[in-house]
């Protein structure tokens, strides 16, 4: 599914992002954007360093955006090694996960290797049902549903009713095609 996400470019605020106060400003921007955007990317391109209080504010705002608008993709993009490392610690302290985009590769910050493997397979499929992904990963459905729920919580996949389902209710899952994001 191709979406044109709303991109919040943090480099507009500087290359060194610190202080909780600045984090609160960015959080406000995230909250406002998430009310209308169908997909949201917080782009760290050009940001050299950010402190954990700043990243903590941003992570909490993104988590709220995911919870409020479950149809949205909410991702971080272009974190350098230091930023990714600090963000992982922030997320671990909060018991949270967030999706991060590096080029065209998605990863789950704060998630284990099993989630990364699931996400990589999902990204190859693009749009899929749980059964299709379970087959590809040779996993049992209940186990896979648990992983899909975690990936949705991390904001990297979304789901919608499958109109082609012959009986009952079936969900189709989407991993966003974010090539148009310009990240």
């Amino acid at each position: 599914m191709s979406l044109t996400p709303h991109v919040i470019r943090l480099s507009r605020r500087g290359r060194a992002l610190g202080t909780r106060a600045l984090g609160e400003d960015v959080s406000q921007e995230v909250r406002e954007a998430s009310r209308t955007a169908s997909a949201l990317i917080v782009d760290f391109q050009g940001v050299r360093v950010a402190s954990s209080p700043f990243l903590d504010e941003v992570a909490c705002a993104l988590r709220s955006a995911i919870a409020d608008q479950r149809q949205s993709y909410v991702l971080l993009a272009n974190l350098n090694e230091d930023l990714a490392d600090t963000m992982k610690l922030v997320l671990a302290r909060r018991g949270m996960m967030l999706g991060a985009l590096d080029g065209e590769q998605l990863e789950v910050l704060g998630g284990g290797p099993h989630l990364q493997e699931t996400l990589a397979a999902a990204q190859e499929l693009g749009t899929f049902t749980a059964a299709e992904l379970a087959e590809r990963l040779a996993q049992k459905l209940p186990n896979l549903h648990q992983r899909l729920a975690q990936l949705q919580d991390a904001g990297v996949i979304s789901s919608e009713e499958d109109p082609t389902a012959r009986r009952g209710r079936r969900l189709r899952f989407n991993v966003a095609d974010l090539q148009s994001a310009g990240c």
Binding site: G14, R15, A16, L17, G18, T19, R20, A21, L22, R48, V49, S51, S52, P53, D82, D85, T86, L89, A92, R93
Partner: protein
Amino acid sequence: MCGRRGGFVRDPGYAALPTRSSWSPDWPSMRAHAGREVRCCESELVEPSGRPLTLDGVSMQYKDPAAISVAEDVRRDQALTSFLGVEPEGEPDTELMIYAGPVESLDVVTGAAARMRVARHLRKHPAGTVTLIPPRDGAVAGRLVDLLRPLPEGLTLTAWEDREDRPRYALLPATQIHDPEDAHLAGEAALEVCEAARVSEERAAIIALAVMDLAENALLHAEDATDPPIVAATVVGRERVVEVVVLDTGRGISESGDAEARLAALPAPLNGAGILPELLRIGKRHDLGVRIEVLAGTGRLRWRWNGHSTSRGLYVPGTTVVVTVSR
């Protein structure tokens, strides 16, 4: 006192300068005319009582006292006690004279403490001025002046000859932080000057983080602070060792019954929350030497990634955090 550790002295050549320890409310102070160095010699001064005082070739007058005399090694706690100790109230136009002629060595804390004292004096004495007699040693004087740039209005340097070829000492001159936006801008500035000074990207990142978040910490957590916090950074030597200081006048730790115990409680796991463990963690990841020193009241904390220790020292006002980043 004239020991190697420096501090306040009675310099024989400047016999009329009060030392902090000998200061009393009726001590006469002096006014040196801008641009001229005070020297003990012939000209006559007359204090209000009519008693003549021989001092210098410069005409002087008595004012309410405000003078600081520092000498020799004025680093770390010596700087803090010298510049930020008890001070007289004085009149609105009181002049503060800082006599630093005999200073032989100083550091980033010296610049920050001097900057805070100058700002405090000019704030408390709106019509007052500050006269700084820089160290006689040109290199040491250059470092002090470098840390105080841009010189605040109201601060006069005597006997100072600026030279373009002095090696740069202050990465970030001593700067007052009034709000979180100031803290953020200081961090941005630190990143920029580190790049210009060819400090590695990894070290620059640590320095910028230290500047921003320690300054914000000081704004948020310094209890009953009398002055805005000051941040400064210096770079020295072939190794390009960088020192960052954030100085605040918060009384929470320094005035607590046991400052050492309060500081001993600070160290957190490196994967824990807080800016200090974060700096150590990033340093370790990039194989850099990061050291943290905290001076508050009589407590001292020294912290590296592989351990920390606390001790007691001279009483210093407020809380001073020094982060040293080396290769």
